[in-house]
């Protein structure tokens, strides 16, 4: 396993310091948005691993967020469980669901998977409305607002902010450790050249299902952390638009790196607000057109574009785009792992 390079440690430390300081710098209404950024970043991280590293396109991760959010809400609302226990169980439940759907996804190549998961996203609200006795149907369920534990000198909002970001940080770290070694190599190999990967002994069923399961765990936890600050869940919280937005965030941020998940979280929380500023009458027109333009001119997303210009400034050859296999990626098992940016 390669040692993390010093530059990465510095960047992570700076990011952590910024996250720790932000709620005291920005106006307090923004703290709320920043909690959502953390929650979204967790879910998008799952897509960076699943879609970016493994090439499985999911337009249905909102369904796992719904599962996670509803597990937290039902346990807290109907059974009075504490939120932390709910989030743990949400992770388990959505992980199991993810493993199951991952098994189905093994049979669905490329765009078929996108199509099936898109349908899952569209059907999710109707499931939630149908099983009224458990989910509260149309009206949803309300939750108690979060209070800081006694002895912690923070208000509920700041406490929730730090908990969300601490969990996000932990999950980023666990994911980074997970994909650094054999697991990450196998995922990338299966994406770039499945035939070569399999003939080198990479078990596609095992790794692809596992990637789906882990991304679903992340989405489930994210759903919990979306439900808690809102203090409310309803079928309208987890629409098909949410699933689409997650993938958009991943791609706009930059689906080839973990930093892209962070940027993606920021983008999907704030881009609609920016679009609102640009044209108050039709924010989603601005949003959609912006998306198309970014795809045309920055296909690697924001982080990819930034990396590219840094490399150009340093007169190094630009980073290869996500789906152009480099010569080394045709023999993925024998290459030493690339340092992650």
């Amino acid at each position: 396993m390669p040692r993390p390079d010093a530059g990465l440690v510095v960047r992570v430390a700076v990011a952590a310091a910024v996250v720790a300081a932000l709620p005291w710098i920005v106006p307090s209404f923004l703290v709320f948005d920043l909690i959502y950024v953390g929650a979204y970043a967790i879910a998008i991280l799952g897509l960076v691993i699943l879609t970016g590293m493994n090439g499985q396109i999911s337009l249905g991760h909102g369904a796992f967020m719904a599962l996670g959010g509803y597990v937290v809400a039902i346990l807290a609302h109907s059974l009075g469980w504490p939120y932390w226990a709910g989030v743990l169980l949400a992770a388990v439940a959505s992980g199991l669901a993810g493993l199951f759907i991952g098994l189905v996804a093994l049979r669905l190549a490329g765009v078929y998977l996108a199509l099936a998961t898109f349908s899952l996203a569209v059907a999710t609200p109707s499931f939630l409305k149908h099983y009224k006795s458990i989910t509260g149907g149309f009206g949803g369920m309300s939750l108690a607002p979060v209070q800081a534990p006694p002895g912690v000198p923070l208000d509920g909002q700041h406490w929730l902010y730090y908990v969300t970001w601490a969990v996000a940080g932990a999950l980023f770290l666990i994911s980074a450790l997970l994909v650094r070694g054999k697991f990450g190599r196998a995922l990338r190999a299966l994406r770039d050249n499945p035939i070569a990967a399999v003939s080198f002994g990479v078990n596609p069923y095992f790794y692809k299902t596992l990637a789906f399961g882990w991304s679903a765990v992340l989405a489930g936890i994210s759903g919990g952390f979306l439900a808690i600050p809102t203090a409310f869940v309803s079928p309208d919280t987890f629409t098909s638009a949410l699933s689409i937005t997650l993938l958009i965030g991943a791609v706009l941020g930059g689906i080839s790196t973990f930093w892209g998940a962070l940027v993606g979280g920021i983008v999907i929380e704030f881009l609609p607000l920016v679009a609102q500023q640009v044209n108050a009458a039709a924010p989603s027109v601005v949003y959609g057109v912006a998306l198309i333009l970014v795809m045309m001119f920055l296909p690697d997303g924001i982080v990819g574009g930034v990396l590219r210009s840094i490399h150009r400034l340093r007169r190094a050859p630009p980073q290869p785009a996500l789906d152009t296999p480099t010569p080394s990626s045709t023999t993925p098992i024998t290459v030493s792992p690339q340092p992650r940016e």
Binding site: V122, P204, L247, G288, L291, P299
Partner: protein, 293 residues
Amino acid sequence: MESLLQQVFSGIANGGIYACMALALVMIYQSTHHINFAQGEMAMFSTFVAWQLAQMGLPLWLAFLATVAISFGGGVLLERIVIRPVERANQLTVVIVSLGLFIAFNGLAGLFWGYIVKSFPTPFPTTPLQIGGVAFSAQDVGVIVVSVVTLGLISLFFQKTKLGLAMRAAALYPEQSRVLGIRVGWMLALGWGLAAAVGAISGIMIAPIVFLDPNMMQSVIVYAFAAAVLGGIESPIGAVVGGLVLGVVINLLGTYVDWIGNELRLAAALAIIVVVLVVRPAGLFGRVTVQRV
């Protein structure tokens, strides 16, 4: 028995609409191997255009024809302006671009016409038709006739005209077609135009039933996905048969199976998609392609 017949019949009518939508998806998939996730939203937008033309005093059938023509032109333009620049990009990029179109069209419709649900005038008589002692809704009969005519014309176009032949050639063998002087890029654009026109027809046909609002096509597109997958996403005939079967099955499930009812119809379509893709990914009419992995 009579009500079963009626349910089957209105299932066929819905199925005709799904078949048109599925055919639009298949036409684009065949030539580019991309799924246009915005197909439903484009159809919704076309339907609003028809509504607007009718509001401005055009007779309904004229508005209908004008909308189909406008949609055709719009589809060609979209391919030229939006899709062509990303034609050679990876699959994910094209998926995201079509989602961008999805969001933009949804927003545009909201901007121009608002999100309040509108009723859409039906071009068919409202009195039921008596056939053999069973009453069928004229709406259903009309929808079936329009779908059959549409699908027939499309099939004639592809089978009997030189342009249709060129389009099929461009879809199947782009390199060789180019050598023969077929302008492959323009054939793709024509495919987008046709898909948009067929989509517009299905939008206008379903609008009197589901009413007109910017989100009207979101469940229809899932049914169309299911129909296309069921029939085999590379097969136009499959799309038509898949649409009809799906329309009937979903209607019967929704009516006669209590726990599915109205709300879980979408879930039933999802189940059909997943089961078909897992059991027989090529669908009923698709060719099984062998891939070494």
